[in-house]
Symmetry: C2
Subunit: 421 residues, 2 copies
């Protein structure tokens, strides 16, 4: 991507950043400031504050299982309202602005209603408007299906993906994501007092962090950014100053062992006792879960014991998916399987690109948790991440102990931080 010398900036404002009239005017002010600094600006907006929740509630007053196509028609209105209002505010500041629906902006998707995937971005209309010296506001989270020309939505957090996709298509110099937090932190600041705002993280680190509980950026948008080389800048809507840059690994210079501690309290564990240790069993189980759109996170299977070679199989899922997961398993296993569930689990993860070349990190994690008498119930690793499933009531202790043991609150860890200041 040749974005570095482009004068196009994509700015994305989340729901809290456009919640009320004051917030919309503030967002409009930031957009106008970027324009007056010489950029051509495309801004992607989310629905206002609780708008999407209210629309979902209206749907559920009508129907227990609202049909997906109509859900998309309904929910897509929220972002359009934000964009129209913000365009009005920008006009009052003396600039030309035009709001576009996802369809008008050329966001073309597949037909998977409520969780459509972007398959093309036809940004001609945006380019034409930018040429006419207009600021372009795009309704996030939505597109139009290529086959049936229906309104589609990209799923929760989809506005991040809209912004990144537009930044890629327009070869923007940067995609700025404005939220109510100032950037990406070394740990959740609500839990760890000394948590530090990270000046730079790599796409790979951000992917692991998004997947393991950091809520700043939506996983899919980070994947899209990595695949298309879009530089992301996570910033605060309410404060000035730089936030966190999410960039390719080669741009982050030397990596520390560990970049951040993340955690999640929204998972649940399912344990199956008496699983036959035969080829194909695990495939059937996790295939059925995938068919039911249940994402499985950590999986462990004990060595089979006894004459009939029965094993125990445990896995974790998002707590919201637990009812569906147990239903699927019970249908599959009949009476022979004993299924237990545990909702009192949590997960703590250590993420850092430098882990690849420093094999001692896992040992240190286990040692720190052990010293704090925190029992590790399950473990899952990737080249740049170590996750431990622990008791839910010890998550805050674990995050603090690890943050402190790896010295993540320390200033001036990375050479490039100096440059960024």
């Amino acid at each position: 991507m040749s974005g570095a010398d482009s004068d196009i900036v994509v700015m994305k404002f989340g729901g809290t950043s456009v919640a009320g009239a004051e917030q919309i005017k503030r967002a409009a002010g930031r957009i106008v400031a970027a324009r007056e600094a010489g950029n051509r600006v495309v801004a992607v907006l989310s629905a206002r504050g609780k708008t999407t929740d209210e629309l979902v509630e209206q749907a559920h007053e009508i129907s227990e299982r609202p049909v997906a196509r109509e859900m998309d028609m309904l929910l897509s209105t929220g972002e359009r309202i934000s964009c129209a209002l913000c365009a009005m505010a920008i006009h009052d500041m003396g600039h030309e602005a035009i709001s576009l629906t996802g369809s008008q902006a050329g966001i073309v998707t597949d037909s998977t209603h409520t969780k459509a995937r972007i398959i093309d971005v036809r940004a001609d209309r945006i380019r034409a408007a930018l040429e006419e010296d207009r600021i372009v506001l795009v309704a996030g989270f939505q597109g139009v299906s290529t086959e049936s020309r229906d309104v589609t939505t990209l799923g929760r957090g989809g506005s991040d993906t809209t912004a990144v996709a537009l930044a890629a298509a327009l070869t923007a110099s940067v995609c700025e994501i404005y939220t109510d937090v100032a950037g990406v932190y070394s740990a959740d600041p609500r839990i760890v007092q000394g948590a530090r705002k990270l000046p730079v993280v790599s796409f790979e680190e951000m992917l692991e962090m998004s997947a393991s509980g950091a809520g700043v950026l939506q996983l899919r948008s980070v994947e899209y950014a990595r695949n298309h080389g879009v530089r992301i800048h996570c910033r605060s809507s309410f404060e000035d100053g730089p936030g966190t840059l999410v960039v390719a690994e080669e741009e982050t210079m030397e990596q520390p062992f560990v970049t951040a501690v993340t955690h999640s309290n929204s998972e649940a564990r399912v344990t199956l006792h008496g699983v036959r240790d035969e080829p194909g069993v695990a495939g059937r189980i996790f295939g059925a879960l995938a068919d039911a759109s249940v994402n499985v996170d950590v999986i462990i299977q004990n060595e089979p014991v006894g004459d009939d070679q029965l094993a125990d199989l445990s896995f974790t899922v998002d707590r919201a998916d637990l009812p569906v997961a147990t239903e699927v398993i019970e249908k599959l296993g009949g009476a022979s399987l004993e299924v237990r569930t545990d909702e009192r689990i949590g997960k703590v993860s250590i993420v850092g690109a430098g882990m690849r070349s420093h094999p001692g990190v896992a040992a240190k994690v286990f040692q720190v948790l052990g010293e704090n008498e925190i029992n590790i119930e399950m473990i899952s690793t990737s080249p740049i991440k170590i996750s431990c499933v622990i008791s839910a009531d010890r998550v805050a202790d674990a995050v603090n102990a690890l943050h402190s043991a790896f010295d993540l609150g320390a200033e001036a860890v990375r050479p490039e931080e100096e440059a960024a200041r």
Copy 2:
């Protein structure tokens, strides 16, 4: 139009008919019943209850003079929400339904944002959906501009026009307009106890009634229906039984002298003293008012008196337009014109296609008002209407006196009423 033998029915539901979940389900029930009776159904929905007002309020929190294009983007979301929710309800009743935006439904307009005019209806997508045995729900009040492909709106009450335009394009057998009143009455039932629901009125009568205060149908939709020969049926969302048919005059058979008494309390009078009685003066005044989009209703000019031939000119406008009207006049007239305004006026009108052939109606109106000591301040007539501007506090008396004098509450006035029962 060959609509009589078409199996397509267009049904339109107003804001109160889709206000809450219960009302939407009730509308869905009516739509499904029409489908199950063997019709192919296109339903046009308005925004729910106070949605449009709430959106307007949100705009005014942002901007004193919201830019028109963005106002349309904003307001068009209300009808889309209604349609998506109603489609969900219909699905739950076991029928396939699809909601379409004005643009998707092929409502093509000019580019006059906030009061666009329909210039074409390209109903291919609706026809295709009907062929696939689907019920089609169309967001009322909106379209897409032919030049810039922007979302446009048709102005308040525009959903009636959407419904009539679709009925014309699809050669529907009837356009049913569902509201919270049971039809068109001989007078406002809130004012006249013996007001009678009219089984049939002609387009011409309905035009005069809509223009003189009857709120059931929007004027433009009646004009469109007359021009394209669309039969309208005004019905109640909340009661069964027939409402009022609005049809071509030849279908109404013999006409009574007078069909209805209408009234308006929303006008104001402007009087200009000292207007020079020269050619072109009135043209300048009313031209300037038209340029400012002020609709002038009744106009009278006194004979000029005195050496300098100065006249008095009075006219009435919608009370909401009074500030703009006085501003326009004062700019035009400079210091030489004395402008007076009166907001305490009302208007009472008598409408009936039979008046054309019965010249005594006007005399009777003046006599009845005189007997009731109601002073007539201005008079305006058409071949089938007589309007009198009177004091606002005598409007209810005047309506009752005229309704009674012309015996409008009587049953079985028309031969075709018998047939309609």
